[in-house]
């Protein structure tokens, strides 16, 4: 894994909204995993490199409940292979009518040190997963076993998740607004820029609460806004 600790630490302090804007400036408009929510929106921000699992539609004869007796079944294998610190991302073809995974597998990921899990389908045992420490994101709860609709077919290949492209190693960041995918090669510069942007946004928020108009302040087109921000940074040590 090549996501450096300082980059990871920076990304933990910024929002998916700020990251989306930084990506937008670079012409990347499609990196948000669409229509995916955290099971518990109060968890700290999730950050990690993508480790992917691809589902295809299940064919009945290939998916009896006994398939899991095979230790090399891709779903189970992927759960044991996902590196600590990574985010486990599942391409469920935006179909939440059967579960992408349940609480036992997600607990296993947590114990193994995985940073989080995302599916564009749904999780079963959603109340249990919400209570775990590991952040999890899905479309909606879904009780049916994954075999009902999904067959795990490929581990760690490029996938789509919620209409966003996800390559193994891309950096996934998740908060209350959902999950965003940062191309691996951009993670460091996006992290640095987002930290800067966040400082300015925090400054603006403070000023707006104090009653200042957004015109000239957001963005900082007034010279005074820049001067005030410089002073604020100094006083805050940011």
């Amino acid at each position: 894994m090549s996501l450096k600790t300082p980059t990871r630490d920076k990304l933990k302090t910024v929002s998916t909204a700020t990251i989306c804007t930084a990506l937008y400036k670079r012409g990347l408009r499609n990196q948000m995993v669409q229509d995916v929510q955290p099971l518990d929106p109060r968890k700290p921000t999730m950050v990690g490199e993508a480790f992917t699992l691809r589902y295809m539609p299940a064919r009945e004869d290939l998916n009896p409940i006994t398939v899991f007796q095979d230790r090399s079944h891709p779903q189970r294998k992927a759960i044991e292979q996902c590196p600590p610190g990574a985010v486990f991302v599942i391409d469920s073809r935006k179909d939440p009518r059967a579960a992408s995974a349940g609480s036992i597998l997600v607990t296993r990921l947590q114990v193994r040190g995985v940073a989080g899990i995302v599916t564009d389908g749904g999780f079963r045992d959603s109340a249990e997963i919400a209570k775990l420490d590991i952040p999890a994101f899905h479309n909606r709860p879904s009780a049916p076993t994954n075999l009902t609709r999904h067959q795990a077919i490929d581990i760690n290949v490029p996938i789509g998740c919620g209409d966003a492209p996800v390559f193994p190693g891309d950096v996934i960041v998740g908060d209350a607004d959902g999950c965003v995918v940062i191309p691996a090669g951009l993670a460091e510069e996006i992290a640095a820029e987002a930290v800067e942007m966040t400082a300015y946004e925090d400054f603006i928020t403070e000023k707006v609460f104090e009653g200042r108009s957004i015109l000239g302040l957001y963005p900082a087109t007034d010279e005074q806004s820049k001067i005030d921000f410089a002073a604020w940074r100094k006083s805050k040590g940011r």
Copy 2:
């Protein structure tokens, strides 16, 4: 009503996820009421036999607000007829643009001892319903009166709810993941099997938290898993 008390009690202790897997083993893949959520996900598990109400699209001339002055209006009649212990299930044709019911009717069901209410549409007064003791499940809140889109037409006939088939007397179980429909004739055996499965899942969960891999454990393909489970059951008295 033929749902026996021990079956009901067993079903209160298991999850819709576990029940779905038990149904899946019997070739039933379509028993989950799709895209329906509890108004309050912290309520205890809902269990009861289905008592159904079928809505058709409303025709304007047949649905002035005065229709409810007729005591035999099917919606109001159904509310008074639904047996205590049953689950009131409404076929709203997956249309939440007008309410399926509101807090007064749901309160009446609660007072009458009804076990819960499910619609594949939406409830109005959703905040009030969430605060009641009776569990309620819907797609999303919806303030417009049901007459806007729905005309109650049939009481206790076979219906669809969230794409699942529901026959009167089928057993409905609901938790944070949503609602599942157990065919009446299978309730007892599903309940028994789900209790057994739940014991094993609880055992696995404990082991996974302790750090054991899911391979060989989930499912129990390692002989040791079976031995450990036997010991665990003994120690837990399950």
Copy 3:
């Protein structure tokens, strides 16, 4: 602004469900903003006259991040122009794939005394917005900057929001069930009628909790219901 204080005060005490029924009696079936939820369902009821912003689909060459350096950009201008006490209503063409606004703009609206904000798209910084005092309603969280999909094009023109018609000056009421649009000319009579209806609904709710059947009570077709309600009003001073 012509929404009178007593009308506003009355509307704060009634539900969107009750208002929808009052509108339904007048042949208005389509005034609910469909599929829009409060970010914090526990906030007090939102009431205010509609001040609107219309978005059209964004064209890439017209929406670089630098557009906001123009103080007359319609989105920013609208935020500063929305009158205190009004509700800011955005026509996002039911597209939540990019944000309609974020926490800084919504904070500015709050500081300016605006009564609330509604979009049929989504907000970014949703966790921060939920914590503000100002009520906000959207379809779902959405982190991407609005420029990704939306271009603000018109201020305070008639729009659609969640399939409902919204004319500037219409009265918007929002609670846990969502938002309803009262045509400006009807606000006073709807408010008066809804207050009356609410009194009766509160009476019924009390009686239903006491065990009375809804037949003859809801609606009051039994003479006794009317007598009891008259007594109840007297005792409650309503």
Copy 4:
């Protein structure tokens, strides 16, 4: 059957568009079967009273291929019971993922003198059905047997079809634009009014082709338009 021959004959000469406008004048806005198309748009206009079949979601154990060995299976029974001159209307819950019927059953309806068939799902053998004389309307072709998703459950009850309410005996009219449902009690007056409207529309069309503006002509707010129309009717004998 109470649809009188003159009414039927009149309805064969008017369009679903004209009928929709006549219904709209009476406050009926929801009588169009939404998203349903003719398999062959060049067929003559279909007219007949609704004979309905209701499908519910199929449960696997109740729908082996052998169910059709039962002569009283509701789908097959309905095909044999539908009166000559009627329109067979199927409530497929707007689900075209499995067929509502195929060419053999539709051929049988044709031979029995049935006036047409409509489903808000899809037909299999769509190319064969398109070649029959009997008009057929669906959402899209669908090859899987109806048992895959649909279980026929009720014959000739009130249903929804394409979000429109359909009561047995309502008059169904179908042309290239789709199908409209005329409440039984209104058929005669709607037919008469639509014939009148059609005369005026034909007159307007002629004038518009001749170069006249629609202002004052459509609708006839200019006195001259009325005079010209009177002359036109006389000359055409309509």
Copy 5:
């Protein structure tokens, strides 16, 4: 109108597919009117500048059938104002449940010399419109009068149509694949480039039919492809 005749003539000879690629090269990815089809796919290519009409959701009390007695009703006014040679583009909010227009209005446009009509809703009298000379594009047929769901509110303002941004004066091109929107300022250069691209595509098509591989040919990365194309152009006089 500033669309020059040579530009119009060039655009009549190229496809929407080729134009989309030319726009894509300039970073414009969202100019296709999504999910809109020609009523008659065999018509010649439609070209003209956009003249727009914006619909909002209809409110029942504002849309009795009598509104059309007002000569200044925006829908009727727009039909009479649309310049000859223009394309009439309607923002129907992607809602085909009621008609955007019918055959009489479309005939009037044809007589007035308008180049075509597009809606992201549907037309009534679709069979008649298909037979006219004027090209028309919609989502699907729809018989109900536009008043059922749509209120015409603004003439010739920027709109969305099928998720594409449309500014008055943009150039609309339509063929069997649907309609594309060329920003006004790019029309000339896109037309020129598309003509060049079309020559090469025609050359490739000929070669592919002759059995040549697409590798090195499409695009022309082989030197030989360029040489052959130069010879082909010469021989064809293109």
Copy 6:
């Protein structure tokens, strides 16, 4: 390729509807490619083994128009590699907003002897493709270049297409109703059974046209039906 010529020939004489029923009898309910239509429904039945291409969502920086200058681009490579007699099946994630392919590539497939092409997205140049001899199936026409939304990522891996599972080598059959996927191992027995079923269906159709009831005939529960069919086969030599 292991699809034997006699199997291919048999499958060319049967319908997708009949094949779906044969698959249904074996518990396979999900083999229809949903919501995909032939560009020209009058073409002969398409039969061939699946050769697949998987698209993922396009990331802007990876998909400039220049990518096709790389001869090893997966889309172009796949077109040249697809074996004669195979069906080229594209997983476009059910997204027709950009093209899956255009007429030049489809022409190349035809020249190379490929049996057909299917996507759950859309084709550009749809009118040209419809005129080719090679059968093509899609959701709807789509002019934008595939790079707008799709990045070709994998050749001949298991995919989903229109919610159906497709493994390389599965046999695809397409007619006016759409495309069905026969698991490779079942092709021979399904072909044999479908030929038998078709004989009986042809017999029934003849009898139904002659006026016989479907009861006892379809299916053949009357002894007489079996006797008549035996005679019919003899006389027809089938």
